[in-house]
Amino acid sequence: MDRNHLKHQVLNMRRSLFDQLEELKDDANPNFVEEIVTLFYTDSARLIQNIEQALVNKPIDFVRLDDMLHQFKGSSSSIGAKKVKEACTQFGEYISAENAEGCTRALQLIKQEYAVLRRKLETYFQVYRWRDNLDKLRLHICSDLHKEPSGLAICEN
């Protein structure tokens, strides 16, 4: 159907990076996104720590800071964390301006967004698991029901 096709096209254009990551999953990696996110957690925790450390050293090594920031920015944007990425961009500006105080503030913001992100992701995965469970339950119930002679069709699928 044309309408469907068009709809799909638009959906495709609109799909976020996170959606794309979701699409990457397959039978071999059913929990791909979760694995990636877990990886991200460990890696980013380390990075944030390094960044903090770099900010306390005097004199501040802005070049190294820039490198670390870009790495953090890269990984957070890769998983689709828009707000964290934007906070990183802000941080980057302070780095280029070599504004130490601004950097510290920006780092706080990053940490804040990061905390929010983690929370959301945790929620997301929980929901995800529910949905999976729900699907399974539904299928289970439906298959049971189908066995019933009454023929009551409860499941829409």
Partner: protein
């Protein structure tokens, strides 16, 4: 999913560039120190049916590349890596293996992207990398191979009819100086194709000859000795007396050299001394790049005195201090940090002109750089600093001499010059589209050619985008050239132009909160318990006792859909009960709710919810309220509404998603 088995057979089967399954089986090497990105990339590439090898260390990647047993078609590398700079890796790969290399980074600042171009990256991807971008990387492999073949063919025929070809070459060159090397090379290629005699050996892949600095110098010396007009490969070969070097190698190298010279002379004459007048066109920085070319070329008499004089007049002429020129030649940053549209090469940066090479006027000027130049640069750089690629020199942009030079898309791209490896041109900075890699020592003539003069400066950058559309350079500063001129306005410091200027500081505040939400979850907990399905809603509910309103709201909202789903499901299961709690504008949960546990209870709860959600600003389509049909359909909408409302709250966008019927329950765009 593992297509690797299939790929294995495919990759062996598709030894030719184009096979049925192409580009499946393309052998990709991914290098990135960030494990998250690496894993994602690997997965995406596998999804494209590519044969992926990953590495998180550049050294390790290089070892793999050098390992003859493993073959790769293309390399994707991150820019910022702790153990080795991505650009350095890029250069190494270009020099040694001549594979196409794609750079990527979250850093989208123009200076860095420029650096990628100048170092010869065939593409630059900005993170986050979409899978669509990866699907197309095979084009770089094909392009490179195509250029290689063409070079080989050309060198083959040059061997044969060296002298005869000269006149035609002249013709070609003059036109090419005007329009584009592509055309001429193409013409030449066509001639050759018709001509015959494809020397069989030229079509076979020959072992590459790396034109090292010394080798090139020997070559140039031999050419000078013979006189450029009289220099024929055979004699050059004899003079050079290098074992293992074949006439074909020399021939192709000579061809490139000639083109380069032609270009220099052609352009400089063309431009007249226009650039002379441009004060700004101080090619200081460029000259600081280790360009021994100018001197060499001058010696060879190739550089028109005019341009040379001009260059010198520009005050750039510092003797090429080949020795010990500290590699912070022109700090690339400086080069790029033109505040004005004009190219201010040397202004204010005298310190960078340490090596005083004028040549690199091209900094950024798209010139089709002969590979020799490139070689020169690299080699000179090497000789200078003992580095490698310094251009890639890490020292923080210093010595990016080569980087500077790189050619930006030259309109005249003799793209093939650079790309071709015939005879092993060295600096193989893999460039796929005709982006000649500008090497630092490009003679001033080139600069002129590039139009510093023409454009009156400043911009002299050929729009990179012309040839390297992949770079997506906005390049628009002083668009004098057709296409973009490099802004160069970006100061090195400002690496991150706040493209996304405003992140939402206050995303949290978007959702006006109501503690009611939290309470609502408790309600749901009860519901869930009824269901006894062991769902973890309770846990979720607990987690939402977060301190902050806004935060909790957000997370609540994230959960909401799921809750809704649950409701929906349970409703569907019960089907037929549609007591639907009238949704008053806010109570999203009303959709589908009213079923399970008996209407009365639900209704009560709904009301409760409604009260709680009283001031919730989330809006839900109220049409949905009543007659909740057992079908899943309305539930979909409900969720859509919820999602859209949530999104709207947070992102300020309209509930656009409502128009779409989601097939499942896409928790899309989790607002993060």
């Amino acid at each position: 999913m593992n297509l690797s088995n299939d790929k294995g057979s495919m990759s062996t089967a598709s030894s030719s560039v184009v096979s049925d399954k192409f580009p499946a089986g393309l052998r990709v090497l991914v290098v990135d120190d960030d494990p998250t990105c690496l894993k994602i990339l690997e997965k995406m590439l596998r999804t494209c049916y590519y044969d992926v090898t990953k590495s998180n260390r550049a050294e390790h990647a290089l070892d793999m590349l050098r390992d003859k047993r493993k073959v790769f078609d293309i390399v994707i590398s991150d820019v910022h890596m702790p153990d080795m700079d991505g650009f350095k890796l890029l250069e190494q790969v270009g020099l040694e293996m001549d594979l196409p290399v794609i750079m990527m980074s979250a850093d989208d600042s123009k200076s860095v992207v420029m650096k990628g171009v100048t170092h010869g990256a065939c593409d630059y991807l900005i993170k986050p990398v979409r899978i669509e971008a990866l699907k197309n990387i095979w084009q770089h492999v094909v392009r490179k191979k195509k250029n290689e073949w063409r070079e080989l063919e050309q060198s083959g025929s040059v061997d044969e009819g060296d002298r005869l070809q000269k006149p035609s070459e002249d013709v070609d060159y003059s036109s090419s100086a005007n329009e584009g090397n592509w055309r001429s090379s193409k013409r030449r290629k066509d001639e050759e194709e018709e001509a015959d005699d494809r020397d069989d050996s030229s079509t076979l892949k020959k072992p590459r000859v790396v034109w090292s600095v010394e080798l090139h110098q020997q070559f140039v010396a031999a050419v000078n000795q013979l006189g450029i007009d009289k220099a024929v490969p055979k004699k050059i070969l004899e003079l050079m007396n290098v074992p293992g070097l074949t006439r074909e190698n020399v021939a192709s190298h000579l061809q490139k050299y000639r083109l380069y010279l032609r270009r220099l002379s052609g352009v400089s004459q063309h431009q007249g001394n226009s650039f002379m007048s441009s004060q700004e066109a101080t090619y200081g920085p460029l000259s600081s790049l280790n360009g021994l070319d100018l001197q060499t070329l001058a010696a060879a008499g190739q550089i028109p005195a005019q341009s040379l004089a001009t260059l010198q007049a520009a005050g750039l002429s510092r003797p090429t201090a080949k020795s010990g020129i500290p590699m912070p030649l022109v700090d690339q940053r400086n080069l790029f940090s033109f505040e004005n549209a004009k190219l201010r090469f040397g202004e204010g940066q005298p310190q960078h002109m340490s090596s005083g090479k004028q040549m690199n006027l091209l900094h950024g000027i798209p010139t089709s750089m002969e590979p020799k130049q490139l070689v020169n640069l690299h080699h000179s750089a090497q000789s200078l600093g003992g580095m490698n690629m310094q251009v890639g020199a890490h020292g923080g942009h210093s010595g990016q001499s080569s980087s500077l030079l790189m050619q930006m898309a030259q309109p005249q791209a003799r793209g093939q010059i650079l790309n071709e490896p015939a005879g092993g041109q060295v600096p193989r900075l893999p460039t796929s589209t005709g982006q000649p890699i500008l090497s630092n020592g490009i003679s001033g003539g080139v600069l002129a050619r590039n139009g510093i003069g023409e454009n009156g400066r400043g911009t002299g950058y050929n729009p990179v985008s012309q040839t390297s559309s992949m770079l997506n350079f906005p390049l628009n500063h002083t668009a004098e050239l057709p296409g973009n001129s490099f802004p160069l306005g970006s100061t090195p410091g400002i690496s991150n132009l706040p493209s996304k200027g405003g992140y939402q500081e206050d995303a949290n505040s978007d959702i006006k909160g109501s503690a009611g939400f939290i309470a609502s979850y408790d309600i749901f907990n009860d519901l869930q318990q009824h269901k006894s399905n062991g769902w973890e809603l309770q846990n979720v509910g607990l987690t939402f006792d977060a301190s902050q309103h806004s935060n909790s709201l957000q997370s609540n909202i994230a959960v909401a859909p799921s809750v809704l789903i649950n409701q929906a499901y349970s409703s569907s299961q019960r089907s037929g009960q549609s007591s639907n709690a009238s949704v008053t504008g806010k109570a999203i949960f009303s959709v589908g709710e009213g079923t399970e546990h008996g209407n009365g209870q639900n209704v009560g709860q709904h009301q409760h919810l409604t009260n709680l959600l009283g001031d919730n600003s989330m809006r839900v389509k109220t049409e949905r309220d009543a007659s909740f049909q057992p079908a899943l359909f309305p539930q979909h909408f409900g969720q859509e509404d919820l999602m859209s409302a949530i999104l709207k709250q947070q992102d300020g966008i309209g509930p656009a998603e409502n128009e779409f019927d989601f097939d499942e329950y896409p928790l899309d765009n989790i607002p993060v």
